[in-house]
Subunit: 417 residues, 2 copies
């Protein structure tokens, strides 16, 4: 097979776009050149020849000499228009727009089929960690037990600083902003939107599941309290915002993004500050752990580069788990063991708990107990009134285990009550 020469039309010339331009300039062996860059603001000074730039997207999208469109812009709407037109016009696409991909997943899948063009997006999740490629190629459908990941560096930075420097949430957010690890408006990261967006399409690559973001239960870290970090430390846990998916015994998949206590020996505990990490459990292989920088200009550019490099050899996602297998369905029919901290008992619907395992009075109260996941899916009490819900380690309890565990717990409760 010969590698083909790539002629790129680039959308966006921020830190990622400019970094990409420089490497491609300096590395002719990559056989990929940027022909034109579409930008929004023509007045801004750029470190590249003026002739390279245009504000007219059609100059890129309608140029038959351009065979690859790379888009590293921030806005979801325009990104989708660019991607759609590019695929329709017979161009391969590399995209870093996680929000756009999460919002338009079914259309993007459909267009890849209709127009028979590759769409690669390794940089959109965990940036420099090749998680999509490995899920696509390496972990066969029937062998993938679970995947647990830290996919948002911003919240991980904040939690690490709360934990290690004993900062409260607001101080930690401010520090993250000062160091460039959080946006001026940090809510997209802090409230879990960014993580659940990534999780939406990672589920497609992991299990062939195509689901709308709004059907996935998630939360961010906005209600995590310094007192939660104190409890975590007492119990020898750390707190992480963990995106996870697990194949249950009934073949269905439990998937969500929630704060969770993790054990020190859990590889996810190794993931500090702005880093990302992915733990994959598959048949026979035990745990595997992938770790690297999950965001930022350089890690993102590196993932875009790897996609470009893959395009030279005709690589595309085949979505084998979706098209060659019957993908498992998402389910909310399971239980979770959770810790909650709160100011007032009245905000906690105790009747929703199967059983409570521990509770603690005081200024900031907390309890841990078991509840059906539907109560998180359908209600929102656990996100409101400063209630902080954190899953316990190994939180998922399957239907078939619940009776046995409940009996054991009621015996204990007889002593405790």
């Amino acid at each position: 097979m010969n590698s083909r020469q790539l002629t790129i039309g680039l959308f966006g010339f921020g830190v990622v776009g400019e970094g990409l331009y420089k490497v491609l300039e300096q590395t002719p062996s990559l056989r990929a050149t940027i022909k034109k860059v579409c930008i929004k603001n023509p007045g801004k000074k750029r470190n590249a020849p003026a002739t390279l730039f245009t504000t007219d997207r059609d100059e890129l999208l309608n140029d038959p000499g351009i065979n690859v469109i790379v888009e590293v812009i921030n806005e979801s709407g325009p990104a989708f228009e660019i991607v759609s037109t590019a695929l329709k016009n017979g161009k391969a696409v590399v995209s870093a727009s996680k929000k756009m991909i999460a919002e338009h997943l079914p259309e993007i899948l459909e267009m890849q089929k209709i127009y028979n063009q590759p769409f690669l997006c390794e940089s959109a999740a965990c940036a420099s960690i090749p998680v999509i490629r490995n899920l696509e190629e390496y972990y066969d459908n029937d062998l993938l037990h679970s995947i647990r990941a830290i996919v948002n560096g911003s919240t991980n930075f904040i939690l690490t600083r709360m934990f290690e420097d004993k900062l409260d949430f607001k101080q930690a957010v401010m520090l993250a902003q000062q160091l460039g690890f959080a946006e001026a408006d940090p809510s997209l990261d802090v409230e879990g939107w960014d993580a659940v967006n990534k999780w939406t399409f990672l589920l497609t690559h992991a299990y062939g599941i195509v689901e709308k973001t709004e059907h996935i239960v998630f939360n961010g870290i906005q209600n995590i309290n310094l007192s939660d970090a104190v409890v975590a430390r007492e119990k020898n846990y750390e707190i992480k915002l963990v995106a996870q998916a697990k194949k249950l015994n009934n073949g269905k998949v439990a998937a969500f993004v929630l704060p969770q206590f993790v054990l020190h020996e859990d590889p996810l505990a190794f993931v500090k500050n702005e880093f990302n990490g992915v733990v994959i459990e598959s048949s026979f292989a035990d745990k595997q752990f992938f770790y690297g920088k999950g965001a930022g200009s350089f890690p993102t550019a590196s993932a875009v580069l790897s996609d470009i490099s893959a395009l030279r050899y005709g690589y595309r996602y085949e979505y084998k788990k979706l098209y060659y297998h019957t993908p498992p369905v998402l389910t909310n029919d399971f239980y979770v063991r959770a810790y909650l901290s709160f100011d007032d008992w009245k905000n906690i619907p105790r009747d929703k708990f199967e059983w409570i395992e521990e509770w603690h009075a005081g200024d900031r109260k907390y309890l841990s107990g078991v509840l059906h996941f539907e109560h998180l899916k359908n209600d929102s009490w656990w996100k409101e009134n400063q209630v902080s819900l954190i899953l316990m380690p190994d939180a998922i309890i399957e239907d078939i285990e619940i009776r046995k565990l409940k009996k054991k717990s009621l015996e204990l409760a007889g002593i405790l009550d």
Copy 2:
């Protein structure tokens, strides 16, 4: 693309072979069945129908109904014969025989070209970690700065126990043997042979370098002393047997397998006991870290399964770095910063050092200094007479840096001498 039905001829029915047989039986969706198993000892009781077994390899190799040969046997000679005949007879091959692959790398590459059949060997290095697939597919030639890895679980277990339980080398080896992490004759692991075998073909997948094992400088951990662990702890290091390769500024590659001090914050320090880990540095991406079980029946079977699964979709290594680029050459023209401990100064050729940075008298003496790598390549004093050589962190010093560093060091030496 349709996935094809695989009919497998399996060589070897030890723990890996039997595990593989069971999963394939239980997972019809993998569309791969074992038609015949070739074993050496027909008298042994097996957990599978007797009709499955034969001692005649030609029954597998000449069966036109078998399209994949999987070999998980231990002997290098027979493994090579099996692989050669299988490729020649138009069968795809999955092999776990690292020693055989290292010894016959040029022939195996040649046969893949001539007979146009895939040869996959993910299980042969770092077992459950998909390191070969990622080096092949994800890390482009020009973007891979360095790769550092713990590729031998046996020695890593021994070093971890020496470090954490303060066992001496012999006690740690015995413990490893009791727990099944070291062979009755541990020399293949302990003296670094296994690691350098793996490193030989990982260099091919990383950089396109095809080199004989005997041209790669290596050592094991046989001379590592409990006193070295004490020094390491004082300096806040751990000791690991690190296989590494680094692209130098002149475009050539430095590659070797040697014990090394690693910093606690180095991801390789996270790799304890029988686990393996790989740290990859590439342009822009900073460090990436892959971690998992590197040996044993289940992790090996899982990697074999992933190869089988990949074959269904026509996957093969393209060796792009070897065939589509001019691969870099291996060089010994650089310097390393090393620590040596020893009993007698007379075993240490002090004139070979560019300069010495630290020395320590006492019963077990030690020093650290800088020497040209040719002295390790051409001489063997550093492996003999109980001399223990451990590289310092960031050991490689390039030619262009040496004058500046030497000058700085001589200034210091003026004070010290």
